[in-house]
Subunit: 243 residues, 2 copies
């Protein structure tokens, strides 16, 4: 199998952005962290030398091995743009490719801000030990950051006739926006219900991604992991509100 995906088992997290892109593209992959466990993941990552991924997820592409080595790509935005360029879902022109990479990095920024809503003080503390700070951080995220980011993505979708950000053909930005919206709905259901009607282009794109044959099959397969309170997108009712 060409691709090995290494990510923490037991949570969709950042790895799910890579999975959705691979499933949409119909590219098989071994989900190594899920198959072999967290200890194997840590050993695999620590056993790599030189310029290695800072953290999971990372993708090993044995198709692109050079000189007996293997190609390893880390950072979610980088992985999905790499896959997009290789398999033709990164945009048709140089200008569009640049814009899509830029949007993908904007998505990464929003994902990092989602994580900060439940871990504002320290990654090494439990949520229960930073709940008060999390409540303050989540308040700004709901009131200011969700509208600012979603307005931005809605405007990007408005640059074409849709349903996707580059027009009729899906790209890595669409699969990532799909997963981002899924996660936001899980983590902040009241807030997302309150703003959903402001974003018709995002909703249309999301529906269109869900209907891509590869994604529809994945969603129906039972292989997709449910969100939970170990991942990036966590539902803590006290962090959600309509405003």
């Amino acid at each position: 199998m060409a691709y090995e995906l290494w990510y923490w088992p037991g949570l969709p997290g950042r790895g799910e952005f890579v999975r959705v892109a691979l499933e949409a593209a119909g590219q098989p992959y071994a989900d190594k962290g899920c198959e072999e466990g967290a200890e194997a993941l840590i050993q695999d990552l620590q056993g790599r030398s030189g310029i290695r991924p800072f953290a999971p997820p990372y993708l090993v592409d044995s198709d692109m091995a050079e000189g007996g080595g293997t190609l390893v790509v880390g950072q979610v935005a980088h992985i999905v743009t790499y896959l997009g360029h290789k398999h033709g879902f990164a945009g048709d022109t140089f200008l569009v490719q640049l814009q899509l990479t830029q949007l993908q990095l904007d998505i990464s920024d929003m994902v990092a801000e989602v994580h900060a809503t439940h871990h504002p003080l320290a990654n090494s503390l439990y949520y229960d030990d930073q709940k008060e700070a999390a409540a303050r951080r989540a308040q700004e995220f709901r009131a200011e950051r969700i509208p600012k980011f979603l307005d931005h993505f809605e405007a990007a979708l408005g640059a074409t006739d849709g349903p996707f950000v580059a027009g009729a053909g899906w790209t890595h930005v669409d699969t990532s926006l799909f997963q981002l919206l899924e996660g936001l709905d899980y983590a902040f259901p009241q807030r997302m219900a309150a703003v959903r009607n402001k974003y018709p282009a995002l909703q249309r794109m999301r529906d269109a991604v869900a209907q891509l044959p590869g994604v529809a099959a994945y969603l129906a397969s039972g292989r997709r992991q449910a969100f939970n309170e170990d991942g990036i997108f966590r539902h803590y009712p006290e962090l959600d509100a309509a405003e």
Copy 2:
């Protein structure tokens, strides 16, 4: 002039990563935010349509105009890799190019964590209104995140004979690491003094970047803005310690 850089005036911030790369490459640019002010920057950004930058800095490249339009690139990591590919400082092989982009995104992550040390709760609050949370966040950043990131970059530099991350020729990762280390020294002088000796390859790379003709001329020019307490890298003595 081919390049216009748009960034907030009065602080080096994220814009400085782009400036150092342009200066190293000997590419002239108009520093529009500094020349025209924050209001002009906001108007310029809001006046752009379709897929536009989420936030400053962004680079306008009139060399690459298509159909009467202009090419606009946002996101620091994306801007400097774009410039690197165009001007030959993004690595010589496909594999190295991928690894450098990945490292550049790791640098972006560390820069975001630096910002979080003084703004853990909300971007819209003043530092003085989140000092207690900032102290907790900075404690973890100093103790755990600085070693984790710098170990990672030191190991990356160890993959070649140096002085740069890809060997004898400088890349966008080197100019960004240079600026990152400059900022860390400003913000956390006690902590950086305590760990500096652990990172000889980083120190050698940093010295080599400072001696690149374009960078040396920039540092001597008086044009480089000093760090201050409006930017990403801020020196608040209460957030620094040797441990």
